[in-house]
Symmetry: D2
Subunit: 214 residues, 4 copies
């Protein structure tokens, strides 16, 4: 299972979480990565943890003031990127462009979407993985695997139909090892989570609990 | 073949084109529709021509000042709508929402996209049809069927793989009957066109030429 | 006082409200206008009521599929337009462009904004009027003139400092004649309202109540 | 004069330019700052050069995946930020929100705009400075101070009328010391430039030439 911890723009200490993630990753079979804000990527990558970007723009080198170039986040140490997170929805043509840009820069890609139809659409654009996150469950503590298992199964089936090589992750409300196991049982190859780790008093303990059953 | 004439915000007389389209449609096997601006839908539909909207928003009845509600364009006389035209690109989640909104209001849907990967993505959202229009050919007079036949074939194949019930149209640079025939030979079930008719000195003659070989 | 009734995408009968507004306008000193959706402008204008658009895009004639051209809403019968309503926020450069487009088409302009600083910014772009509408009060039934009189006074002062020829309207929560009078006492030359009339069982009675004290 | 070098997403070496800027700044009366991409801020700030962000979002700490938080770019070493650059236009309400966010994080602010009317609007939002950059001159090598001196004078006058405490910078096509002097003669207190330095074979020489006449 792949556990991707999205730090959003939370008031957390990205270094503390990065070190906790690296430590826990070393002691388990789980793959754990941390996605800080762009301006923190270099610092987080410096800890040795697998580091992801939260977004890249559908652009190439050029006149793009204020945008996020895939090559630059890679240069700062990112090895993958989220695209089209529900807090950062992109135009369909730009999801395509951002996947292309990330590929060009050697970044692994996870494209997020709300429901099985959008997951199929995202899978058609050829990312490494898609992630289904029902927006209404994000930040609730009610795991998608429990609240809406059909949406995860539907997403797995939809992605498989379009392109069997695209993995499916799921997110929203994931905070315990049981949630991670349940996600895997529904066909998901990983989970996206955020507040469950980023807002935990003890991120190491939170991550250990998440990966314990794996 | 379905011939959909997009009037964009051209300085044309929408009534003259609507009457020409209705007249030509009556004398051929081709299905011809006209897509005026929202504020002209009622007037155009009054001519009896098949009338389409150029866009609907991913919204329901409510507090959406300045937006285009599917039910309202239907009430004004539209029976279908373009979605995600290259001059009006939408977020992936909003393409989904606009298709849902159009379905709810009984409007037929054509979702536009740039290339086969995006066509597959669009088809995954369940519209009635998708339309491939390479943006670099729009308005050029060089028909996509000639300049880039692989993109039309690729679009047909991509849509078929995802959902065989979704028709494929093509557009960009179409202006003659030969272009329409070529589009059909590549697997397209219709064409989108704009300036070729909307800017013609004699729209009736332009439309007659387009459908003559059918 | 100017009373501008925004029909948004409410499930109301635009003709019934238009007729009520025309009738009440004829019997009072108040100026009353109705802003329907673009696809309903021609029908509403046909009643003889003063008709406004809810939005125009910062564009000219050309290739702008799905956009709202100022000349077209004017052709359909609109004599003015809202710009930058809180449900349809525009880029700063596009507020400028939309005001220019509306001017070009002979449409009167009201640019909406949230607070005195934004009102000053809007006034600097040279519209006929600005309208301050604190988003948190829209649709509440608590009139801005009561909940936050300083914001109206601040807006009047801010607009005056930048360009004394720009009128100030206010909106949000207005539903009674007393609210209209209070708005006038704070320096406002008109009110924007929506649900108070558009969702009223008897729009004529609602409008009569609004203008009774004038 | 303030010389702000915007690195956009150019394929330049940000460290080489940062070091050149720091070196030249130390030997002249001019204030020189460099604005790299967010993911390069920490590295650039490490050279000791004055470092700016290219953009901050109108957000606070929270659930904002993929966005740029003012506090985070400040934490990485930025002391100021561009807002609303012509390659990254924001909604009017978001220009206001981004200025507020930057103020909260202690970042100096420069809001960009196209013309005197928009400069007045930007000044009304209370930034430290505004920058007028006619989009058609960006990247041309034809300096705004020569091609369109009235736009700079108009911007200075417009900002002054709205808020005399807001400085005015200008940009577009600036590449020589004469351009900088001309900008100052028109009332500008600084210049924005990009390719003239970022694409120079020898950034130190380019910067020395720029500030030599000061």
């Amino acid at each position: 299972m792949f556990v991707l911890v999205n730090l959003k723009t939370y008031p957390c200490d990205p270094l503390a979480i990065a070190r906790a993630a690296r430590e826990v990753a070393e002691t388990t079979a789980a793959r754990i990565a941390v996605a800080p804000q762009a301006a923190h990527i270099e610092r987080v990558a410096g800890t040795g943890v697998e580091t992801w970007a939260q977004h890249v723009d559908p652009i190439d080198y050029g006149s793009n003031t204020g945008h996020t170039l895939a090559e630059t986040v890679a240069d700062a140490g990112a090895v993958g990127t989220l695209i089209n997170h529900s807090e950062n929805r992109l135009k369909l043509a730009d999801v395509d462009g951002s996947v292309r840009a990330a590929d060009r820069a050697g970044l692994e890609t996870v494209v997020c979407a709300n429901n099985p139809a959008q997951i199929a659409a995202a899978a058609a654009l050829g990312p490494d993985a898609v992630a289904v996150e029902p927006p209404e469950l994000i930040g609730t503590g009610t795991p998608v695997s429990q609240a809406d298992p059909e949406i995860v199964e539907g997403a797995v089936e939809a992605a498989e139909h379009v392109d069997a090589e695209v993995s499916v992750l799921c997110g929203a409300g994931i905070s315990t090892g049981d949630d991670v196991v349940a996600a895997g049982d529904l066909g998901s190859e990983g989970v996206l989570l955020a507040s469950g780790v980023a807002k935990a008093d003890d991120p190491t303990a939170a991550l250990e609990d998440l990966v314990a059953p794996l």
